[in-house]
C-alpha cells in the first residue's frame, strides 16, 4: 500500500535535518502504529507524506500503490487515496463544515473521473456517518473546526475520513484530547473502515488507543528514524518502561 524508503527530509527555510532515513512499509489491510518521543519527527513524516510546504526531501521515496507521491500536489495525493487526520486540525472561519466536505468529496471524485455525489445522497451519507460519531447537525453547519472543542475537532477528522474513504489513512495523535467515550467512538470509526484494501498508520503516545485499534505492527521512531519494529507487545513495553531501554538498546 505505502512504501517509504530511506526518506530524508530537512526544513526548507533552515538547515535542519528532521527525517534521517525512514524506512517503512504498510501493507494493505494492516494497521501500523508509530510511537516515539516528542520531537522525533512523527508529525513531520505525516506532513511530508501529505504534501505540506516547508519541507525538502533530500533523499528517498514514498510510493502509494505504485505511484511516487512526493512530486504530487496535496490534492492529487488525496485523490490517490491518502488521508491525514491532523494532530492539530485547522480552523477555517467562514467555510461551513458541510460545504467543505461536499466540495472535498466531489473534488476527489472528479479527479478520479467518477461522477459527483448528488446533494441528497451526500446529505444522507453524512447524517449517517455523523450520527455514528455523535456529531450533531449544528457542528456540521458551523465553520470548519471553529469553536470546536479539542475532542470535537478529532471526531470531525474521523468524520472526514469516513466520508472520503481513503485507501491509506494516517492518524496523527487522534487520541490526544479525547475523553474515554470519545476515544471509543473514534476507535469504532477507524475499525469500521478497516478492510483488506486499506492501510493505516496510527501515530500515538499511548497504549490506550491501541487497546481499541489493534495494530499489526508497532514502530518506534527516534531522532528521525524508525529504530525498532515489532508486534503489539512493543507498545506495551513502551507503556511500561518508556523509551529509555529501547533507545539504549539501539544506540
Amino acid at each position: 500500500m505505502l512504501s517509504i524508503k530511506n526518506l530524508h527530509v530537512k526544513l526548507e527555510e533552515e538547515d535542519k535535518q528532521i527525517l534521517k532515513g525512514v524506512d517503512l512499509t504498510v501493507e494493505s489491510g494492516k494497521v501500523h502504529a508509530i510511537m516515539g518521543p516528542n520531537g522525533s519527527g512523527k508529525s513531520t513524516l505525516s506532513y511530508v507524506l501529505s504534501g505540506r510546504d516547508g519541507y525538502e526531501v533530500t533523499e528517498g521515496e514514498a510510493v502509494l500503490e505504485g505511484q511516487d507521491i512526493l512530486d504530487m500536489d496535496p490534492e492529487e495525493r488525496a485523490a490517490a487515496g491518502l488521508f491525514l487526520a491532523f494532530q492539530y486540525p485547522v480552523e477555517i472561519p467562514g467555510v461551513g463544515n458541510m460545504t467543505f466536505l461536499r466540495t472535498a468529496v466531489n473534488a476527489q471524485r472528479k479527479a478520479r473521473g467518477e461522477e459527483e455525489m448528488s446533494a441528497a445522497d451526500f446529505l444522507k451519507l453524512i447524517r449517517e456517518k455523523a450520527k455514528a460519531l455523535k456529531i450533531d447537525a449544528d457542528m456540521l453547519k458551523r465553520p470548519v473546526n471553529v469553536g470546536f472543542s479539542g475532542g470535537e475537532k478529532k471526531r470531525n477528522e474521523i468524520l472526514q475520513m469516513a466520508m472520503l474513504e481513503p485507501k491509506m489513512c494516517i492518524l496523527d495523535e487522534t487520541d490526544s484530547g479525547l475523553d474515554v467515550d470519545a476515544m471509543k467512538l473514534v476507535a469504532e470509526g477507524v475499525n469500521a473502515l478497516r478492510d483488506a484494501g486499506r492501510g493505516f498508520l496510527v501515530i500515538t503516545h499511548y497504549q490506550r488507543l491501541l487497546d481499541h485499534i489493534k495494530p499489526d505492527v508497532v514502530h518506534i521512531m527516534a531522532d528521525g528514524r524508525i529504530v525498532k519494529t515489532g508486534g503489539p507487545e512493543l507498545a506495551l513495553e513502551v507503556e511500561e518502561n518508556g523509551y529509555g531501554d529501547i533507545l539504549a538498546e539501539v544506540a
Binding site: P89, I92, V95, F100, A107, L164
Partner: protein
C-alpha cells in the same frame, strides 16, 4: 485660496467639452451653482490629499479614455429571478423601450431630465442640495461637475412600502461613451424602497445619487459593478437620514481599471441606522485594477448606529484603497460607530492602502475601527488541499469566507443569495 493655474486649465479644458442641458430656471440655477462650486475647487489631481491614493487623471481628462465593450456571453442578468422594475440606461441614455413602465404603487418615478424641465417639482429641494452639503469639509469636485452637467437619471419618491425593487440597469455599447447620470431618491416618512444597480455603464461613468430618508424611512441599495475590465467610474452617494430611519448600501465590484465609490452620509435624526459595505475582487492581470472606497459618515443625532464593512481581494498588481471617516458631532451621544476595512492579497505584487479616521466631539460614544492587510491562510489552504480540494478552488473558498462579513450586510435574503451566487460564478469563470 487661489487655484494653481494647472488646475484651472484642467478644469476649463474639461468644461469646454461639456454642455449644460437646458431646463427650468430653478434647474439652471442649481446647475450654475454647481459649476461655480466646481470652479472654486477645481478638478482633483493626485496632489490633493483626498486623491493621494487614487490618480483621478482619467476621470478628469477632457477626452474620455476608451473602453472595450465587455461581453458577458452566457451570463444571466443579475437579479434575474427577482421581480423588479427595470429602468435601462445605455451609455447614459435612457432606453424607454427596454425599460418597464414607470408606474408602481407606493412610488413616483420620473426621469431627471423631465423633472428639471418642470417649473414646480419636489426635486428642487434635493437636486444638488445634499451634494452641496457634502462638499464640506472635503471638496468633491467630480460630484459638483455631475450636478452641473448630468444629462439624466431617475427621480424617485417613495410614499409607502414599495412592493418591488427598482433596478437601474446600465448598458455599455459605445467604446467612447462618457456618461453623467444623477439620481434623486426621496423616501417619505415610514416609506421603504430598494434600489438595485447593475451593469457596465459607459467607458467613463460619473454617477451621483442623492438620497433623503425621512423619519422611519428605509432605503436599501444593492449594486454590482463589473465584470467589465476597462471601466472608469466615479460614483457619489449623498444621503441625509432622519429619526428612526435605516440606510443600507452594499456594492459588489469585480474588475475595472478605475473605480472610486464615495459614500457620504449625514445622520440627522435620533435612533437611525446607516450601513455601508463593499466586496471587491480585483485582478490586475486582465488590465489594471484600482478600486477606491471613500466613506464619510457624520453623526449629528443621538443613539445612532453606523457600520462600514469593506473587503477587497487583490491579485496581480491590483490596487485597493479605503478612506473611511466617522465624524461624531457634539451632542451625538450614544453613537455606535464601527468600521472595518480588510484586504486579502493573493500575491506580493498587489497593494492596499487604508486611511481610517475617527473624529469625535461627544463623550458618550462607542466607536471602533480596524484595518488589516493579509495573505491567504496557508494552513487553511493546505488543510483544504489535503482533503482533495484543488488549490484554486480552495483559494476561492477562502476568498468567499473572507468576503462573507461584507455580503452578510445585504439584508434581503434573495438579494444576498443572488449576489453570492454571482460572486461564485465570477470566481469559477476565472478558474476557467
Amino acid at each position: 485660496m487661489a487655484l494653481a493655474q494647472a488646475k484651472i486649465d484642467l478644469t476649463e479644458a474639461r468644461l469646454s467639452r461639456l454642455e449644460m442641458p437646458a431646463g427650468s430656471s430653478w434647474a439652471a440655477e442649481a446647475r450654475q451653482g454647481a459649476a461655480a462650486r466646481l470652479r472654486a475647487s477645481g478638478l482633483p489631481t493626485r496632489r490633493d490629499e483626498y486623491w493621494k491614493f487614487t490618480d483621478p487623471a482619467t476621470l478628469t481628462a477632457a477626452e474620455p479614455p476608451q473602453a472595450a465593450i465587455f461581453e458577458a456571453r452566457d451570463e444571466a442578468p443579475l437579479y434575474d429571478g427577482i421581480d423588479r422594475l427595470k429602468l435601462v440606461f445605455v451609455d447614459g441614455v435612457f432606453d424607454a423601450a427596454a425599460s418597464d413602465d414607470l408606474t408602481l404603487e407606493g412610488v413616483e418615478i420620473d426621469l431627471l431630465a423631465d423633472a428639471l424641465a418642470k417649473d414646480i417639482h419636489w426635486a428642487k429641494d434635493l437636486y444638488g442640495v445634499l451634494e452641496t452639503r457634502g462638499q464640506d469639509p472635503v471638496a468633491r469636485p467630480l460630484a459638483a461637475l455631475n450636478t452641473a452637467y448630468a444629462t439624466n437619471g431617475i427621480v424617485l419618491r417613495a410614499t409607502g412600502k414599495v412592493s418591488k425593487p427598482i433596478n437601474l440597469i446600465y448598458l455599455h455599447n459605445d467604446v467612447a461613451s462618457d456618461a453623467i447620470l444623477h439620481h434623486l431618491v426621496k423616501i417619505e416618512e415610514g416609506a421603504e424602497v430598494t434600489v438595485l444597480e447593475s451593469g457596465p455603464a459607459a467607458a467613463r461613468f460619473n454617477k451621483c445619487m442623492e438620497i433623503e430618508v425621512a423619519d422611519g424611512g428605509t432605503f436599501h441599495h444593492v449594486r454590482a459593478q463589473g465584470r467589465d475590465h476597462e471601466r472608469r467610474a466615479v460614483t457619489h452617494m449623498f444621503s441625509r437620514i432622519s429619526s428612526g430611519s435605516t440606510f443600507k448600501s452594499f456594492t459588489l465590484t469585480a474588475n475595472g481599471v478605475l473605480t472610486r465609490n464615495e459614500n457620504i452620509i449625514e445622520i440627522v435624526g435620533d435612533d437611525a441606522v446607516a450601513h455601508v459595505a463593499g466586496a471587491a475582487l480585483g485582478d490586475g492581470a486582465r488590465g489594471a485594477f484600482h478600486h477606491d472606497d471613500t466613506v464619510f459618515i457624520t453623526h449629528d443625532a443621538e443613539r445612532c448606529e453606523s457600520r462600514q464593512v469593506f473587503k477587497k481581494v487583490l491579485r496581480n498588481r491590483a490596487e485597493g484603497v479605503f478612506q473611511g471617516k466617522i465624524l461624531v458631532r457634539q451632542g451625538a451621544q450614544k453613537t455606535d460607530g464601527y468600521q472595518i476595512s480588510q484586504a486579502l492579497l493573493l500575491d506580493e505584487d498587489s497593494s492596499f492602502q487604508a486611511k481610517p479616521e475617527l473624529e469625535i466631539y461627544a463623550d458618550d460614544v462607542i466607536c471602533s475601527h480596524g484595518s488589516t492587510t493579509g495573505a491567504i491562510d496557508e494552513d487553511g489552504l493546505f488543510y483544504l488541499r489535503s482533503r482533495g480540494v484543488p488549490e484554486d478552488k480552495a483559494t476561492d473558498l477562502l476568498v468567499l469566507a473572507f468576503l462573507a462579513e461584507a455580503i452578510e450586510e445585504i439584508e434581503d435574503e434573495r438579494l444576498r443569495e443572488d449576489i453570492l451566487l454571482r460572486l461564485q460564478q465570477w470566481l469559477e469563470r476565472r478558474r476557467g
